[in-house]
Symmetry: C2
């Protein structure tokens, strides 16, 4: 088998009842320069609550934990159960102050380790060219 790679968190998700933000660790704050020019960003975080050997071995799930959805390979879903528990979500940027990114909301737990951020550039795929299974549309 091929070698493994090491991922070091660059920050952390902080959530309260009425606010959400991402705190970038000081040593990585210089990487935020210019992010304020974007309305949205892609946030990569780690499903750390699902990072167990057993959950990493789960290869098929019923999407959205709904048994009425067909058994589906995790690579055809966004399930937190997957060999490498990487989460990807798009966030709207509200404000950036120093190493703090205020965001509108995020579908992550408070305390989730953030492992990367990339600027959000809209997809160039026309909707008419996109095909998805029925369980997605429900």
């Amino acid at each position: 088998m091929s070698r493994s790679f090491s991922v070091n968190p660059i920050g952390v998700v902080k959530k309260t009842d009425d606010a959400a933000r991402i705190e970038i660790f000081d040593e990585y704050a210089d990487g935020l320069l210019g992010l304020e020019g974007f309305s949205h960003m892609m946030v990569f975080y780690w499903f750390d609550q699902n990072d167990t050997p057993e959950k990493r071995k789960t290869l098929q799930v019923h999407p959205r934990k709904d048994p009425r959805n067909p058994l589906t390979g995790v690579f055809a879903t966004h399930s937190p159960l997957r060999p490498n528990p990487i989460a990807l979500t798009r966030c709207k940027i509200v404000a950036i102050t120093g190493n703090i990114i205020e965001i509108e909301e995020i579908d992550a737990y408070d305390g989730s380790p953030v492992i990367d951020i990339k600027c959000y550039v809209p997809a160039s795929v026309e909707d008419k060219d996109v095909r998805q299974p029925d369980w997605i549309k429900k």
Copy 2:
């Protein structure tokens, strides 16, 4: 500092002059069930040729290696130089046969380690609500 996480490749990018495919390692092939229902997928791969301590410390770049573009934090770009060299790209699925995903094209080197695949679901952000800096539009 927080702990680090381990990423294990699930497959590899294979490219020739006239074809591109992703080979999923046999032990993960069950994770592909249902992916054929999607026209596109998100492929996460590792910028393994940029995984050096020095490149991981690079926090600001001139986007697209063009000195006319403003010095920009790597988190506001898709640069391969970043603390965790994770690449994300969308691919059109041509066919899936066993553990082989034939794709239309991919902006990755032959041999790049694939670390995750997720189904592609179009963004729900309206174009009019997206803001980007000028260097993106060139």
